[in-house]
Amino acid sequence: MLIIACPYCGPRPELEFRYGGEAHVARPVDPSTLSDEDWGAFLYQRANPRGLHAERWRHVHGCGRFFNALRDTTTDFFAATYETGTPRPAGTPADGETSR
């Protein structure tokens, strides 16, 4: 059971959270202008890297808020958590790199 640092409530056990998949996937402003290819990619293609992964979590059984996290998928250690709408913290390795 992971410990996840909610940006609002502090470190809390994984049970209180729900995973939200890849972060920073912006919904296209005008889907009707997209090609089928791009729309399919938006809907279904995901980064799924081996290493650092920017992902969404929701503190569903706590403050209820969505937030973003950087986690290394080869170790399950978190490099950072940050509020939704804020950019990925500067100085963190790219997706797929390892955090330690």
């Binding site: 059971m1 056990p13 049970l15 209180e16 706590g62 403050c63």
Partner: protein, 189 residues
């Protein structure tokens, strides 16, 4: 139409009656009270505080109280406010007036949940049978409150005293939560 008043009877009445006493870990059902879920931006928060009589707590996971009124921080823009039933109607009216024009939401959720208290030197240990939080006084001091889990059920947990916790739980989960706590209490009664 169903008589709404019957819904205020505890969903766990039979369990409460059969519950054994324990000075190490007492389990009690708390009397009904009115609950409001309040969500709002800063301007509304300030206005709401005036009606409430004190400022809503801004520190995460802390509650503030004055007399019989209590406001629990549940999220950055969400509070659970409890007050005696007799004050409910007047309070709701005053709040509606004060919040007029300010983006906010005030919902009476009194029927949704009921409250229990666990008290005694073993209270934290009993709750830890299902709650994964560190409940030591350092990590979860008096005055702290949070939504969390007890077993599979979501609860709002607050520490009102070194050796006393209150649990707000949805009515339909109440018997599950009560039984879970009873099971944990069994070696202390």
């Amino acid at each position: 139409m169903a008589d709404l008043s019957t819904m205020r009877t505890p969903a766990i009445e039979a369990l409460v009656t059969a519950s054994p006493a324990s000075h190490l870990a007492a389990l009690t059902a708390l009397p009904p009270r009115t609950r409001f879920s309040f969500r709002g931006r800063p301007a509304a928060v300030t206005a709401f505080g005036t009606v409430l009589g004190f400022d809503l707590p801004q520190v995460a996971c802390r509650f503030a109280e004055d007399g019989a009124r209590r406001a629990l921080w549940l999220g950055p823009d969400e509070w659970l406010v409890t007050l005696p039933d007799r004050e409910a109607t007047a309070f709701a009216g005053a709040a509606a007036t004060a919040l007029a024009g300010l983006p906010s939401s005030l919902v009476d959720v009194s029927q949704r949940s009921l409250a229990l208290a666990v008290s005694g030197p073993m209270a934290a240990r009993i709750i830890n049978a299902g709650c994964p939080l560190d409940l030591s006084p350092d990590a979860f001091p008096v005055g702290m409150c949070t939504r969390t889990l007890l077993g599979k059920a979501e609860i709002v947990l607050s520490r009102t005293d070194e050796a006393r916790f209150e649990i707000d739980v949805w009515r339909s989960f109440a018997d599950y939560v009560w039984r879970l706590l009873e099971e944990a209490r069994r070696e202390f009664v």
